[in-house]
Structure formats: C-alpha cells, structure tokens
C-alpha cells in the first residue's frame, strides 16, 4: 500500500505525494552482544565499516612511514635510535622498511580494500536496493564478519610479533626461509579469504533470488550489477588463494616441497597460483567502485544513466577477462614467450570494458544538471584518477616496456592510481553518498568538498611523481636510493630521485590531511549534523525509499519499484531539504527505461 497524506505538492503538478513512514532505527536497542551476534545486514555492514576504517588508519600510518623513510636517500629513519654505528643503523632501517611496506600492502589489500565497498557498504545497501528484508543467508553473513574478525586478529598478531618482510605477495622461496611470522599472516589471509567468499556467495544468491517482482536484470541498479560481477570473482578466485596459502603453510611447517625450490618445488607455480587470485582480486577491488560511480553520476547529474546495458555487461566482461590475465605479473619470471604474448593481449582487452564505463559516465554527465555535492566531487576525481591509472596499465601490459618498468615505482604509481585513486576515492564517494542513509545525519557539504579537493591534490602529488621516478629507474621496495654496485646511481640521478621522493612525501602528508578532514566531517555529522531526509539526493533507487536510517525491516510499507535512473517524478521539497516521490495523476505510464 502506498501511504500518502494531503501534504501539498511543491511544484504544482497533480498527483499523490508518497510519504515515507518513520520507524525505530536499526541502530536503536540492544547492547554490545546484540551487535556482535546480530543477523541484521545493516548492523553487520556498520561493524565491517568500523573494522575496515580502523585498518585503513593503520595501513595509512604505515604508508606515511614509508614516505618519511624515503625523504632522504640513505636508509635512516626507521632505525629508531638503534646505536650510533651508521652501517648497523642502515641495516636495521632497511629491515624495518621491508616490514613496513609488507604490512602496509597486506593490511591495505586484505583487510581494507577487498572488503571495503562490498562487505561494508554492500552489506548495508544491497538488500535494501533489492527491496529485501535481509541478505539470503543472514547467519552466513554474520559468520563471514566473524571470520573477518578472526583473520584480522591473526594479522594483528603478525603485526605485533613483527618480522613479516615478504611483501604482501608472500613469494616463495623467500617466504619459506624468512624468519618472520609468515604462517600467522597467511593463516589470517586464508581466513579472510573465506570471509570474502561467503560475502560474495551471499550477494549472488540475494541478487538472483530476492529481487522484487518487476526488477528484471536490466532494471537493477548498476551497483548491483557490479557487486554481482565482483561476487563471481570472490567465489571463484579466492579458493585458489586459499589452497595456495595452505600449501605455503605446510611448506613452512612440514617442508612439503611443492613451492620451495630447495626441495624440488616450483616457485613460479606459486606465482601462477598467487596471481590467479590476486589479479582477479584487483577487479574485486575496482568493480564495486565502478558500481558506486554508476550510482553517483546519474543521481547528481539528474539524468538517466547513459548506456545502461553497456555498463552492466562491461562489469561482467571485466570479471571474466580478469580471470585470464594473471600472467602479466610474471613477464619477467620466465614464462614462455607465447604465454606472455597471450597474457599481454588479454591485458589490453580488459581496457575495452573499462573504457566503455568511463565514456558512459561522461556521456551521462553531458547536458546533465550537475550538482557538485561531495559524492559527485569524489566521483569526478575518480574518473580522472582511474583513467590515468588505467592508461598507465597499458605500458605495463606491453611486453617491451614492461621489461624496463617491471618492479619500478611506475608499477607502484599505476596500481595506486587504480586502487587508491579508483577504489578508495570511490569508497569515499560511496561513504558520503550513503552516510545520510547509514546514520541519518547530513554532513557539512563544504568540508566534504574541501576534503575531496585536498585528497585529489595530495594524491596526484604523491603518485604522479612516482611515474617519473619509475621511468627513471627507481626500483620499488628499496629503503635507500643512494646507489650501490648492483644499483648504480649517478649524482644527477640521485638529485632527481631525492627531489621527486620529497614531493611525493609532501603529497602523502597533504593526502593524509585531506583524509582526516573527510573523517572529521563525517564523524562531526553524527553530533552536529542535520537530520537526514529519506532521500537527500533525489536518487531513484530503492534504498532511498525507506526512512533514514532504515528500520530493522528496511521497509515499513512497500516501496514503489521503478527504473532506477528515472528522476521525472522525484521532486525537491525545500521544507525538508530533500526529495519526495510523486505518483502522478495519470492512468498509464509505460514502465520503460529511456534507451
């Protein structure tokens, strides 16, 4: 039933105004235990959000340490006052540097980026977007959060015992012989992997079986398409990493001899297995981000998304092709020439669906009525940064250039442009976009926009310099760039390196400041923010058709299911500074998306 009152319509057309009843928020009631063992997808999403943001903070601080160490050419900062002997100090600093970048990578990848959009915001948004009360398997959902917690504990243990210095990739044979807590960390990743698998499984089943009548595949919000594609990868790729890490653990504990060359094992096999998951994993990271952008752009352009089917299919295409390109991480590992050529070709093929998305977003904005709210600022920032990140992937995917660029800062810059300039920026867009729905408070728009601009500037300062560093030959994962016999550095080159590293470090601090402004803006809104209306942005997807924050059941009355990107009947009401929906006085309107 559609509840409606005789409240006046603002813009003078005839019709009924859809009222959204308020109810007790999902946040109310229950103590700590009722949160820890809740089956409510929204609470689970919020708990994920807290965990993920905590690890983002840790990972970010580690990143700052990396940048500070690189301020000077010599390895000096991370020696932490160990004696006076310069050589010994440098040695200690280098060891610590290895641990810092390893933990930065592993924490950011496994504990932050992979679960960020799907597990935290996806858990909150996906069921509401399909108009359901919950995900298909609420208990499994809770189990996956508990697994995340346990895996995180393993990581904290590895962090506290120190000495993990393999890089986040755990390459054998080094990871078999090093003394660090590799088993702890890999066990953590193993457990986190199952958390990820269960989340993905839940989303696939939810989207397949719980859509309301009328929501056909091609009337789904595009966020659901991208989450669906992500979930396919999570379910099919993660188990390969699980078995790989299980074998790595047995390698370390029992000496099983499958990956350790000293025992007749095959280290390149490990790399194949590892990247069979970890390349699709970067699509696990970027696809949900693309889904968020596909929601934010039409909402703030007040215009139907351009090329809906192309965006939907390109999500699936990226997921499928993404499974076939893992070998491009191993061009220098001694694959056959034929394999490298094929992997190179397929890598170029991924660029096509990615570009399709970017052009469709741009076309959506074209002649739209663009509102520069914070999520939109982040979304535009995403498009710029993701485009740079994507295009710089091509020289790395091309065989000849990759030989020069492999394992240099060019690679670091490329994947940070995609992972951070893409996923993180999009995560922030999503966080600002859904924040009113999550907590029922409006944040300060000016501060939000400011944070977007500062993050954009800081980010480019940090990572654009690293492209230049990489082309000039600065290898990644080096604590010092003074030069040595194996790594000769001329004085001019040293000067260039130093300048660029310092710009990058300054950029990192600016970026950090921008992120703190964003965090402060959001946190302050919880105390000082205006109460959010049900639909503050005028979006047309279902999650804006329940009150903010939603009740435990999500919908007190049945929402009206319409095409997700048609804004004709969604009107602005200055009294609530939000939007409401009108059921116009006309008998028929064909329920069709404009093509």
């Amino acid at each position: 039933m559609i509840a409606h009152t005789s409240k006046p319509l603002v813009s003078g057309e005839t019709g009924r105004r859809v009222e959204i009843p308020e109810g007790p928020s999902y946040l109310t009631g229950g103590g700590l235990m009722s949160w820890a063992f809740t089956l409510d997808h929204k609470r689970i999403g919020v708990m994920y959000l807290c965990g993920i943001l905590g690890f983002f903070l840790i990972g970010g601080l580690l990143a700052i340490l990396i940048r500070l160490e690189l301020w000077n050419p010599a390895a000096d900062l991370l020696a932490f006052g160990q004696g006076a002997d310069a050589t010994a100090r440098a040695e200690i600093a280098k060891n610590n540097f290895n641990q810092v970048f390893t933990l930065h990578g592993a924490i950011m990848v496994f504990l932050f980026i992979i679960p960020s959009i799907p597990a935290a915001l996806g858990n909150f948004v996906v069921p509401i977007m399909v108009g359901a009360k919950d995900v298909a398997f609420p208990r499994l959902n809770l189990a996956s959060f508990h697994l995340y917690f346990v895996g995180a504990c393993f990581f904290i243990a590895a962090l506290l015992t120190t000495g993990l210095d393999t890089g986040w990739t755990f390459y054998t044979p080094y990871s078999v012989t090093t003394t660090g807590p590799v088993v702890l960390a890999t066990m953590g990743v193993f457990i986190l992997g199952f958390s990820s698998i269960f989340t993905g499984l839940n989303f696939i089943v939810t989207i397949n079986t719980m859509r309301p009548r009328g929501m056909t595949w091609f009337r789904m919000p595009l966020f659901l398409w991208s989450i669906y594609a992500t979930s396919i990868i999570q379910v099919l790729a993660t188990p390969v990493l699980a078995i790989t890490l299980l074998l790595l653990m047995t390698e370390r504990m029992l000496g099983i001899g499958i990956f350790d060359s000293a025992r007749g094992g095959d280290p390149v096999l490990f790399q194949h297995f590892f990247w069979f998951y970890s390349h699709p994993a970067v699509y696990i990271m970027i696809l949900p981000a693309m889904g968020v952008i596909s929601e934010v752009i039409p909402t703030f352009s007040r215009k139907h998304i351009f090329g809906y089917r192309f965006i939907a299919y390109s999500s699936i295409a990226i997921a499928l092709i993404g499974f076939l390109v893992w070998g491009h991480h191993m061009f220098t590992s001694g694959q056959s020439a034929l394999a490298t050529a094929i992997f190179s070709f397929l890598t170029f093929a991924v660029a096509i669906p990615s570009a399709i998305k970017v052009f469709n977003w741009l076309a959506t904005m074209y002649k739209g009525s663009i509102h520069f709210n914070t999520p939109m600022c982040y979304a535009i920032s995403f498009m710029a940064l993701f485009t740079i990140g994507g295009l710089t992937g091509l020289p790395l995917g091309a065989l000849a250039t990759d030989i020069h660029l492999h394992d240099t800062y060019f690679v670091v810059a490329h994947f940070h442009y995609v992972m951070m300039g893409g996923t993180l920026i999009s995560f922030l867009a999503a966080l600002f976009y859904w924040w009113p729905k999550l907590f029922g408070r409006m944040y300060n728009e000016r501060f939000g926009q400011l944070s977007a601009i500062i993050v954009f500037i800081g980010f480019n300062l940090t990572f654009f310099t690293q492209f230049i560093l990489g082309v000039k030959g600065m290898p990644r994962r080096y604590a010092s760039y003074e030069g040595s016999d194996a790594f000769p550095v001329t004085p001019e080159l040293l000067e260039t390196f130093t300048t660029l590293h310092r710009i990058s470090t300054v950029g990192a601090l600016i970026l950090g400041a921008g992120l703190f402004i964003a965090a402060g803006t959001l946190i302050a809104s919880l105390w000082y923010g205006r109460k959010a209306p049900a639909n503050p942005w005028g979006a047309a997807t279902l999650e804006w058709k329940c009150c903010s924050p939603p009740t435990q059941q999500n919908f007190e009355v049945n929402p009206i299911m319409g095409p997700p990107y048609v804004y004709d009947d969604i009107k602005y009401d200055p009294a609530i500074d939000g939007y409401y929906e009108v059921v116009p006085d006309r008998t028929t309107k064909p329920m069709q998306d404009p093509v």
């Binding site: 379910v235 049945n558 059921v583």
Partner: protein, 369 residues
C-alpha cells in the same frame, strides 16, 4: 517513478521474526517470502559453495598436472608405492555412500523417515570406513619413510611387524568405543531428545566402521606384501622379478640408493624433529648413497602432491561427516518431510562433490601407467 509495481514485502510493524498472523511455517526464514524462494536460494547457495570447493581443489590438480607434465618418470616410478586395491576399495565405499545420500533425498520427498535416517547412517559408516582405510595407507607410507619432499627418506629394510601390532590395538579401541557409543545412542534415542540419540549412535557407527576399514585395509595390504613382496622392497634387495617392470624396479633401486639420505638441511626448520625421519639410519647394504642434489625432483615430490591431495580430501570427508551428523540429528528430531528438505539436499550435494573429487584422485594417483 511510478508504476505501482509493488514489492511483495509484507508490512510488519512488530520486530518479531516469526510474526503471528501470517502463515510462515516454522522452517521458513523471516526474510523469505515463500518456500519456493527459500529453496531456490538454498540450492543456489549450495551450488556456489560447491563451485568454490572445485576451485579450491583445482589448485591441487593444477600442481599435479604441472609436476606430472614436467616429471612423468618420477610419477611413473612413485605410483608403484601406492596400493591400487585399497584405492579401488575406497572408491567403491564412497560411491555406495553417494548412492545412499541420493536415496535419502528421495526418501525425504516421499516422507519415508526410516529410509531417510538409515541411508544417512549408512553414509556415515561408509565415511568412517574410508577414513580407516586411509589411515592404514598413511601409516604404511610413513612407516616406510615415504614422506613428502622435505622429509623423503625411504627405508628399504622396513619390517611390518610393529605396524601390525599398533593397528591391532587401534582396531580394538575403535571397536570398543564405537560399539559402546552406538549402544549409548540407541538407549538415548528413546528419551526426550531422539535427535541427540541418533547423533551418538551415528558417531559410534563412524568409529566402529573406521575400525572395520582398518581391518580390511590391513588384510589387503598384508596379503599383497606376503604374496608379492612390495615392489620397492624387492627392488632394494636387488630381486626385481616383477612381471614387465624389471627395468623400472631396477631404476628405482638406483634411485632409492641415491635417496636413502634424508634431507636434513631443512629438518630443523620450523618443524619438530620427527622420529620417523631417523628411519634412514638403517643404511642399506646397497652401494654408497650419492648425496641428494639440492632442488632435484624425486619421488618425494610425488608424495608431496599425494599427501596434499588426499589430505585435503580427507579433511573434506571429516567436514562431510560433521555435516551429515547434523542432518542425522535433525532427521531424528523429525525436521524434514516432503515440504522441507533443503539441508538434506544441500549436504547431499556436498557429499557428492567430495565423492567426485575422489573419483578423480583415484586414477590420477593410483592408476598411472
């Protein structure tokens, strides 16, 4: 937008999960609208879970493929240490259990509670027997020093008396504990909690049939050792008189002599020094063993893959046993009938997958020619 296309979510103003006043059966979760929706969700969920299981095993199969393609001779030699008769016996046991599970689903659809229950108990007994046979295989492997690569140290002088002695006691305790647990469960099932009684009974059945599996496997193994002298022992004694395999056996003898040295560079690394590792102390009277080449691939690498594959598979069998025990408990409680048997079907599907993996493992590991 405004086509009044409504979602079918029922308005609910109470926060009760099983709200009164609308006909949700007890087994229908509150967030599903209909039994059909719940069943299709459950089925899709199980199939997706199986998909990730397949990919989990795929890593091991890929490792197998790579090693076998690169070192076919190692596999050809090494597989002679496996006993195809035991593998075949286990294959039959698992196939029978799969049949029983499928039969059980059919029984649920027909509301034949008795058949539903006993098919699942039969399945559990088969699973226990499988594990018993596997235990015997592992015992013999480890006793002969046929470890994985890092510890590979075959002992040509192995005497099987001790292992027989140990197994006798294992069987004895399996039987005693298993039968006692079965009896306890049998009594308990007529009490207030029949489900628990049937679980106890089934646990007993698993343990007892594991004992039976040990007896059978040991019988087969002992018979083969008596009648053929296990090939590698023969080879080590220089009596390679096996039909058509002289060449291979002789090659093995040389291999073995070369490999009779345990690799001790890594012995101290992270692992507790296992006493079995010392097995190679009894140096054979064969020619002086050549030092092992660092990084070479030998039969130990075959056993790495053998143990990884069969070990992970055995873990899945144990997981399956736990899942079926849960099902048996719910059957005993009378939870399932023609209208609701999603869990029975789901666990059944999982069990078929475990069976299917073994169907692939058996020829890949035991039947290399």
């Amino acid at each position: 937008m405004s086509t009044a296309e409504l979602t079918a979510t029922t308005p609910q103003h109470d926060q009760d999960h099983h709200a009164e006043g609308h006909d949700h059966p007890e087994w229908l979760a509150h967030h599903f609208e209909s039994p059909q929706q719940q069943t299709s969700a459950a089925k899709l969920g199980v199939w997706l879970f199986l998909a990730q299981e397949v990919l989990f095993f795929a890593g091991l199969f890929a490792a197998y493929a790579v090693y076998r393609a690169n070192h076919p001779e190692v596999f050809l030699n090494a597989h002679h240490y496996l006993n195809p008769t035991l593998g075949a016996f286990n294959t039959i046991v698992l196939l029978a259990s799969s049949l029983a599970v499928a039969w059980g689903v059919r029984a649920a659809q027909l509301n034949d509670q008795k058949t539903l229950l006993w098919t699942h108990i039969f399945t559990l007994a088969c699973a226990g027997m499988f594990m018993g046979v596997k235990a015997v295989e592992y015992m013999y492997k480890l006793y002969e020093g046929l470890y994985w690569a890092g510890r590979y140290a075959p002992d040509p002088e192995v005497q099987f008396g001790v292992i027989q002695h140990n197994l006798v006691w294992t069987v004895f305790w399996c039987m005693v504990i298993g039968v006692a647990t079965m009896g306890f469960g049998w009594k308990q099932k007529s009490g207030p909690k029949p489900g628990r009684g049937w679980i106890s009974f089934s646990v007993g059945a698993v343990i007892a049939s594991a004992g039976a599996g040990i007896v059978i496997a040991n019988g087969i193994q002992a018979y083969e050792v008596e009648s053929h002298m296990s090939q590698h022992v023969a080879a080590a004694h220089g009596e390679a008189e096996l039909e058509g395999l002289e060449g291979i056996a002789a090659a093995e003898a040389i291999d073995k002599a070369a490999e009779a040295h345990p690799v001790d560079e890594h012995a101290a690394e992270g692992a507790e020094a296992a006493p079995e590792g010392e097995a190679a102390e009894h140096a054979p009277e064969a020619p002086a063993p050549a030092p092992r080449v660092e990084g070479e691939v030998n039969a130990g690498n075959f056993f790495s893959i053998y143990f990884a594959m069969t070990g992970v598979h055995a873990l899945h069998i144990i997981g399956g046993i736990l899942a079926i025990l849960w099902i048996v408990g719910r059957i005993g409680r009378g939870d399932f009938g023609p209208h609701y048997f999603d869990p029975v079907e789901g666990v059944g599907l999982y069990w078929h997958l475990v069976d299917l993996v073994w169907i692939f493992l058996f020829p890949l590991l035991y039947l290399i020619h």
